[in-house]
């Protein structure tokens, strides 16, 4: 028989997964940030942008929500290098390709939540802000967005949790993050059950931590009238 599970975990699996965990975080954190920024910009433009910009952002959202993420990941990593414009082409390393894919996809979803949040704020508040002499931009940034963001936060948080899980797709373009590392260990040791169950626990812990952080953020931003509905 092979070594007991805890021995295997301590000596081989945990150190391997720890390396993978850092790589995962290196992919997740920038992707989440990129997704949030793109989502915010696209969400605002979809509601307040001029018509052509609105159509453009709509197209972006349909494209990135409408195609499988795996296809997008493959595109940025495998297909992009073959597109040459004026003889120049872009070759992305695995990690940047993963971050770009996840950020763009996440942004498309985030923009939906932001758009919903923006549309939930009554138009009257914008009129009141304009009547006080604010520009439309000031009204949107200092009156509408802070409220829309609070309304969108639960949805956006949900998207971050999805992102943590779909970061595992980075393994298919050779990024040695959690899932990639685990697959390698499983192949080498044939201890599939232990490796993949442990991997699941790692994701579960990551997601639980993220949920907890998001709750803290929601609480920190909570004002009367915008509380989380108590369970």
């Amino acid at each position: 028989m092979s070594t007991p599970y805890f021995e295997f975990l301590r000596a081989e699996l945990a150190p391997g997964l720890l390396d993978g965990l850092w790589v995962s975080l290196l992919v997740i954190a920038p992707s989440a940030l990129l997704g949030a920024c793109i989502g915010l910009a696209a969400g605002v433009l979809r509601v307040y942008g001029p018509k052509p910009v609105r159509l453009l952002t709509e197209a972006y959202v349909s494209l990135f929500r409408g195609t499988p993420l795996v296809v997008q990941v493959f595109f940025w990593y495998f297909a992009l290098p073959y597109i040459s414009i004026g003889g120049a082409s872009i070759v992305l390393d695995p990690v940047p390709a993963a971050i770009l894919s996840f950020g763009l996809c996440s942004g498309a979803y985030q923009s939906e939540y932001i758009r919903g949040g923006l549309m939930s704020i009554k138009r009257g508040q914008i009129r009141a802000a304009l009547a006080l002499g604010m520009t439309t931009r000031q009204a949107v940034t200092s009156i509408v967005l802070p409220q829309a963001f609070r309304r969108a936060l639960p949805g956006c948080g949900n998207e971050v949790i999805y992102l943590i899980k779909y970061s595992s797709l980075a393994s298919i373009i050779t990024v040695n993050e959690l899932t990639g590392t685990a697959t390698t260990i499983a192949k080498n040791t044939w201890r599939n059950i232990e490796v993949f169950c442990t991997l699941g626990v790692y994701y579960l812990v990551l997601v639980t931590l993220a949920t907890w952080l998001l709750r803290l953020l929601e609480d920190a931003m909570s004002v009367p009238g915008f509380e989380r509905p108590s369970a």
Binding site: I121, K122, G124, Q125, R127, A128, A129, L130, A131, L132, G133, M134, T135, Q138, S142, I143, P146, Q147, R150, V223, P224, G225, F226
Partner: protein, 265 residues
């Protein structure tokens, strides 16, 4: 353009036209208001009172017509000029439109900082003074969700006053309020009028406004049908559209005693 003199109207509208969905909601409406005067817009719903008020500060840009502030025409195409104009024209809405994520204090303060560029300290001081003026200094930390309708409207009034407007537009300020809360808002409005604030107010509170107004403007189907002092329009023995409209209101609401008694002055 000449310098504004004592006789120059503070706000003047000439030939305002607004077409919405094929209807002439405003059909060549003109009005002018002098310093310290109170004009009251009355008329059935759909008469264009609210549209007129919103056209007056370009929240709804008129299709044609001119608006002059102290004798100077406002060029609404210039964003800078428009923002400067709006600062001088305070607006009170029927449904308050407080900023829901900001406390009462912050509601009053936000434009002072963002628009007037005041420091936080100065803006806070000013905001507290305005809240005091409407009797809400003790509610400064409350969020709109924790204020009554009457309190919300008073915060909205404080918020408008903090910008030092030259004229205030009030769009049915008490129509969304429970009856027992109307009084506190009306008394703030009365204080303003007595303090010399120039106001144009759309309202159904006929008897209240008759005691404040220098002039009633009766609108119907986007036109000014009658205008004159409350005494001229509602006086004894007068037969005016205004008169018959407000007897109808008092009949329906049971306001006052007799059918037309409330409207007679």
């Amino acid at each position: 353009m000449s310098q504004p003199s004592e006789t120059t109207p503070i706000l003047e509208a000439r030939g305002l036209v607004k077409v919405l969905g094929g209807n002439r909601v405003l059909d060549s409406v003109s009005l002018s208001i002098g310093r310290g005067r109170v004009k009251v817009l009355i008329g059935p719903s759909g008469a264009g009172k609210s549209t007129l008020l919103q056209c007056l500060n370009f929240l709804m840009p008129p299709d044609s017509g001119h608006i002059l502030l102290e004798g100077r025409e406002v060029n609404a195409q210039s964003r800078k000029e428009l923002c400067a104009f709006r600062q001088q024209v305070g607006m009170i809405f029927q449904d308050f439109n407080l900023f829901d994520h900001l406390s009462a204090l912050e509601n009053v303060r936000v434009a002072l900082m963002k628009v007037k560029g005041m420091s936080k300290l100065d803006a806070t001081e000013r905001a507290i003074a305005e809240l005091k003026r409407v009797g809400l200094a003790d509610r400064a930390a409350n969020y709109p969700a924790n204020l009554s309708g009457g309190q919300k409207q008073r915060v909205a009034i404080a918020r408008a006053l903090a910008m030092d407007p030259k004229v205030m537009l009030l769009d049915e300020p008490t129509s969304a309020l429970d009856p027992e809360l109307i009084g506190e808002v009306l008394s703030v409005i009365r204080d303003l009028a007595q303090g010399g604030m120039t106001m144009i107010m759309a309202t159904h509170q006929i008897s209240f406004s008759a005691s404040l107004a220098d002039e009633f403007i009766f609108m119907e189907k986007g036109r000014v049908v009658e205008q004159g002092s409350p005494a001229e329009l509602l006086g004894r023995g007068v037969s005016s559209r205004t008169q018959s409209f407000c007897s109808k209101i008092s009949e329906l609401t049971g306001e006052g005693g007799g059918a037309s008694g409330e409207c007679r002055l």
